[in-house]
Amino acid sequence: MKARKIVSLVLALVMLLAIAVPAGAEGFRKVKVAYATNATDETFVGRKKGLEELVGPTLNMEFMYSEALSDAGALTTFIENAFASGCEGVFVDLANAMDQGAAVANDLGMWYVGVSSADSAVNYDLPYYVSVVGASAQGYGTSYATAIESVLSDGEEHSILILSGAAAYGATSFIEGTAGSLRALQEIYGLTYTRDINELATSSTSVDAENDKGVKITVVPGMGPDLTNTVSPMLQSGEYDVVVGTTTIYGSLSVAVDEVEKATGKNIFFISRDVLSDTIGNAFHTNDSTGHPVMDAVVTQATFETVSGMILLRNAIDGYADNMRADGRCSRVPGSAPLVVVSAEQFDILSAEDIPFAFCTAEDILALTGPDATWEAIDAFGASLTTEAVIEKFNK
């Protein structure tokens, strides 16, 4: 009798706990997914926060994160460790080893989503290779062109320093970001380059984009903290008054730019690729020593790819992999082009406290899961998240 009472009590407790599980997780089996990243910078911090606070509770997913990985060997080790610790899926943000990682995950029976601005080149027909997400290279090109047109269409002459990031290593988003910037300058100044734009964008050394109008444009490869040592001397020559970063440059170059502005009394326009963080917000709202905003435009790091990747993995794990793949191969889900923020007002709207991660609410995410969801629907939803649409949706 006493045993029956105890068992009843335990069962009642279990039922109570089940009810206490968040509504978004209802119906979802708890799963663990590995997240392989190429950098543990502010972008990663923002994505991690979004996963922990929105995607995880909504889709009942737990995440295991890697340290900053740089090659296929490190990625393979991480995937194997993830498998050993119970992960059923892996999300890989390491474009240069994406396809190799897919083979490893496939061997282990782990569902796989990669992030890249280009489609998969090999292994795309592996059964566990679900999708490649990530804003397309053309999207980055368009966004950078928009940012440059917004900042430089003042009719003045400028000298531009374009930091091409990993373009020299073949990273397509950087190539298109650089090429898009060069094309935008071509439009603004009506100039013709003496060399091919793609050749300039993928140069492995600093190169002047010589043109018929004599506008000073220089393309400099490289990224990371070492960029400071390479670029600072160029800025300090006083020749440039526009810096365009196809990679995150605000953190590493803000001090150098500030020093040059103070020394020369000249404003330097700053266009960076970044997340909508407090640091960037301060940059938009703060004036430099010349009285202009520190930050002039930001091409945001695409965040929808993280959400779409997890939705694709969730659906694949739940048995709907066929709807997430495209005709026997991994699908390509570029989603939206990166948003462009060109003013403090736009920044405030897009980074308000109540704005959800990747501009996706829990309802939006849940609507893209289940047996009726398709990769095309996920892609279409991502494509609808333009700057104007997001501002209209959330600026109430």
Binding site: A68, P225, T230, Q236, S237, G251, S254, T279
Partner: protein, 344 residues
């Protein structure tokens, strides 16, 4: 020694200390002007860059000199640099402190980590390189875990502008140089250091506590690399929580300055001054390569090739001297033989 002799000797040492940076500056200036039509230094900002870069390099070179000259290759210096900077900075941020407190806490953490490695070395008796690798892995993880993987972010933080100010860097470098000059020249520790470097057995037999001396070396090295780490991250805006032993790259890159200062210039001038002189000269060289638009990879290749060439010359310079001496002796013997034959 008379006063005038002392003064002349002092002037000679000053001239030697300035010679290497001056020669390097003239060389690079001529090359750049001849090929590019530009100057090496175009504004006061270039001078600031030189000071900042030389200060960083000198701090790391000082740290390397504490152990490497005694045959101990500490591969955990880079990790001590990263972890000390990250954790010291995070402590300062958590306490709501700004500015110089970042440096204070970074140095304190550097001291702690350096002492940890030093005590581990003298206690466990593991070969220094092996211990260095292990401790590097551990300290990198410590820095990573403490910062949740993102390292230390200084950009945009109010009150941290002073850390990237050139005047502040100059003051820190001067303090560091004076400290090292005093520590390695006028203290009992410096005598014990040189005795241990000469022969550990003899030093031990003469009553020097080798273990304490070595532990202090590691501790001082930890403090010095933390200074470098904090100054570097103040300008770059952040210190990344790197893993996989990648933190040691920045330390290895400054080994050349240490070797020039310790193995060459120290014959003529004080070692601490020699290290600073070498750091400035190599920084000028690096700035010259940047002016030629040389990529980072090629610049590193050139630096390392010159470093190896220097080491080869350093290891074999006595051979040239010996050959010259042998030639003179042979010539002398032949002269004597001829003279005797003539006498007969």
């Amino acid at each position: 020694m008379t006063q005038s002799n002392k003064f002349l000797r002092f002037l000679k040492q000053v001239a030697i200390a300035l010679a290497l940076p001056a020669i390097m500056f003239i060389l690079m200036e001529l090359l750049i002007y001849a090929t590019q039509g530009k100057h090496l230094f175009n504004s006061v900002l270039d001078i600031r860059n030189l000071i900042r870069g030389s200060g960083n390099a000198a701090a790391i070179a000082f740290a390397l000199s504490m152990n490497l000259t005694s045959g101990r290759m500490d591969l955990s210096l880079g990790a001590q640099r990263a972890a000390g900077t990250i954790i010291g900075g995070l402590i300062a941020q958590a306490l709501g402190l700004t500015g110089i407190w970042y440096l204070v806490f970074a140095v304190l953490c550097g001291i702690a980590f350096g002492a940890l490695v030093g005590v581990a070395f003298v206690t466990l008796r593991v070969p220094p390189m092996v211990l260095g690798i292990g401790m590097a892995c551990i300290l990198e993880c410590v820095g990573f875990a403490a910062s949740n993987g993102i390292g230390l972010k200084i950009v945009g933080r109010a009150g941290t502008e002073i850390l990237s100010d050139a005047s502040f860097t100059i003051v820190v470098v001067i303090i560091m140089a004076v400290f090292m000059l005093f520590l390695m020249t006028y203290t009992r520790f410096s005598y014990n250091f040189r005795a241990v470097r000469g022969s550990q057995q003899i030093a031990r037999n003469s009553g020097i506590n080798v273990f304490v001396n070595v532990a202090i070396c590691y501790t001082v090295a930890g403090a010095l690399v933390a200074v470098s780490g904090l100054l570097d991250s103040a300008f770059a805006g952040s210190m990344n929580a790197s893993m996989g032993l990648t933190s040691n790259g920045s330390v290895m890159a400054n080994m050349f300055a240490m070797m020039i200062g310790c193995a060459f210039l120290s014959r003529y001038i004080n070692q601490a001054v020699g290290i600073i002189s070498a750091a400035v000269a190599l920084r000028i060289f690096g700035m010259g390569l940047t002016a030629f638009n040389v990529s980072d990879a090629v610049s590193s290749c050139i630096n390392m090739a010159l470093f190896i060439a220097f080491l080869v010359w350093q290891a074999n310079s006595h051979v040239l001297k010996q050959r010259k001496y042998d030639r003179e002796r042979i010539a002398q013997a032949q002269e004597m033989k001829k003279a005797r034959a003539a006498a007969v």
